[in-house]
Symmetry: C2
Subunit: 357 residues, 2 copies
């Protein structure tokens, strides 16, 4: 089994993006199923493989830049790396049927075959970039639709495995860094956390706010995903518009709160930022959750110009390269959690001291 390790997609998060002080990244995905095949949960014997071969061939015709990898042909370690780069989903990695992914060299486009739906098209961009992502995914979708017939019902729209995607099959989301809105006031200060207001407002607009890895009120590292909820009865343009109209308010709310915090609580903010920098540049062992929390503080420190010895793209890069799959891929072998903590601390120290100008 040959290991296509040298041909990983690039880390697009290393590119700077619009509004990157608050918006980490943008993503769109379309769920599509192919007429003439059963839905994945009802596949007959051999149908998954047949569909994989059919669609992977098509993808090569549609876009010669897409490179196809069967998930069964690569090691679990490499699957983990692709997952950590958002090229494939957790569900896709965990699957057992013939399945795979076509991705562009720059990592901003990927098409999963036999994930929850027959096809999951995804496009990504650094910062706030919904318009160009919409054009890109629309073009890919149209090219594919010229070569296959999608499952489509006039009354519903595109049909999907899970009814929550039926209609447009579209999920538009942005990853936001909201440390000031998530900031917990010191004891005795009866200020409501801004993030709770954002949650409530989003709900009214039919948008969802989720933490990076779950739905707790305070997300790991204060990274929150804002996405559309409704796919049925709204056009793709409307879904994008829903998000587009809410975003400027959230972004400026976060910026205002950063200004207020920095004015009212400067020693506290500086303390948090410098401790994060100090710990990241000196620790000899560090677990993921702690590292993410410090990287988040450092990201805020860079935005507030408390620290200028590191750039936001470097921090974004670390957030991916410090994850277990990447650490093990780099080491070329499996690492126990304790070893990973040592290797992670080494990587972070090296990266931050290299970036320092």
């Amino acid at each position: 089994m040959s290991e296509p390790a040298a041909e990983l997609p690039s880390l697009w998060l290393l590119e700077p993006g619009p509004e990157q002080d608050v918006v980490v990244s943008s993503r769109m995905r379309l769920a599509r199923n192919i007429d003439g095949y059963h839905f994945r949960s009802r596949f007959r014997e051999g149908e998954a493989l047949k569909l994989e071969q059919h669609l992977s061939g098509l993808l090569g015709e549609v876009d010669q830049g897409l490179r196809y990898v069967s998930l069964e042909s690569i090691t679990p370690a490499l699957r983990e790396v692709l997952f950590e780069r958002h090229v494939v989903s957790h569900e896709h990695v965990a699957g057992s049927q013939p399945r795979g992914v076509a991705f562009s060299e720059d990592g901003t486009t990927s098409v999963m075959i036999n994930e929850e739906d027959h096809l999951r098209l995804q496009v990504f961009g650094s910062g706030l970039d919904l318009e160009s992502l919409g054009n890109k995914i629309g073009a890919l979708d149209r090219s594919l639709s010229e070569r296959v017939t999608y499952c489509f019902a006039p009354r519903f729209g595109y049909l999907t495995s899970c009814p929550t995607n039926t209609g447009t099959g579209l999920r538009v989301s942005v990853m936001l860094h909201l440390p000031a809105l998530a900031f917990k006031p010191e004891e005795g200060k009866p200020i409501e956390q801004g993030i709770i207001k954002v949650h409530n407002a989003a709900q009214k607009l039919g948008l969802a706010v989720r933490g990076m890895h779950g739905e707790s009120s305070r997300a790991e590292g204060d990274f929150y995903q804002l996405s559309n909820q409704v796919t049925l009865g709204r056009s793709p343009e409307q879904a994008v518009e829903d998000l587009q109209s809410a975003l400027p308010q959230v972004i400026s709310y976060e910026r205002q709160m950063r200004d207020i915090l920095f004015k009212d609580d400067r020693p506290r903010i500086e303390d948090i930022v410098w401790r994060a920098w100090a710990t990241l540049t000196h620790a000899r062992r560090m677990a993921s959750a702690e590292a993410l929390s410090h990287l988040s503080s450092l990201r805020l420190g860079v935005c507030l110009e408390i620290i200028d010895s590191v750039t936001i793209p470097t921090l974004h890069g670390l957030m991916v390269s410090m994850r277990p799959g990447h650490l093990q891929h780099k080491a070329g072998r499996e690492l126990q959690p304790q070893e990973r903590d040592v290797v992670r601390a080494d990587l972070i120290r090296d990266t931050l001291s290299r970036d320092r100008c």
Copy 2:
């Protein structure tokens, strides 16, 4: 009321001392009461002032190097500073009767008047220094006894306010830094903390082990005071001998454990030391307890030669100068706890970066 601020005793802890990797400091004190006066708790009207005047005059005759300060003549802030330099005790500061202290310029000798007993003679030294302390306090005691008659009963020895001091009136103690013995094994490693063994062994030898500020099983900063318990029925020489005979074992036990830890758990130790250094040199706010804990880790790091950019005496100096009284004395005004945390962090950063060569 003139403020003798410029004439504070020196910080003797800034001197290096024998066995200073484990022994921070040595101390001896004698409790004495003067025949012809009631014990402090039974003082009659005017008796405290009369005794203060009597004894403070005598002290000037006995040793011209001793400078007498009436605690009622100085500000509470300055009393706090003297307390933080161990020149006076907490009880002495908190008292309300006429009382005072005579101390040498180098801060290694002090005599409290009207503390729990009429006289409390104290001598200090950096590192392990019991022999010279014994000679020093013995000479001072003899000189005084030529000028006053101590309360003494042949059957008991020197009589004191509290029966736990009756007999020799002597307390011999050493402050030990025992981070390796107090080190808590990582979960799953069923190793008994060495400090518990020290506690048990000390008890059998009639010695007491106390934390810096209390008697918890893990002391703040892992600083433990080892002292004699018995004053009745043993000579002063025997008390010193009891401590002297136990010390080499404790010291070598701590050194062994440091070696073992450093060999078996090096990444963990290096992580703790570097995080302490990083946080101390970068934080913008720091409470006393956190600072003491990091200074303790750093002290271990210096002893293990993980860090060479700071010396042990500098760390000892910080442990005193970062305390609330010293911070406020330096600032020339009262500081709220939050302000103190900022000023403390500034002082620590400045001191450690200055010390760095």
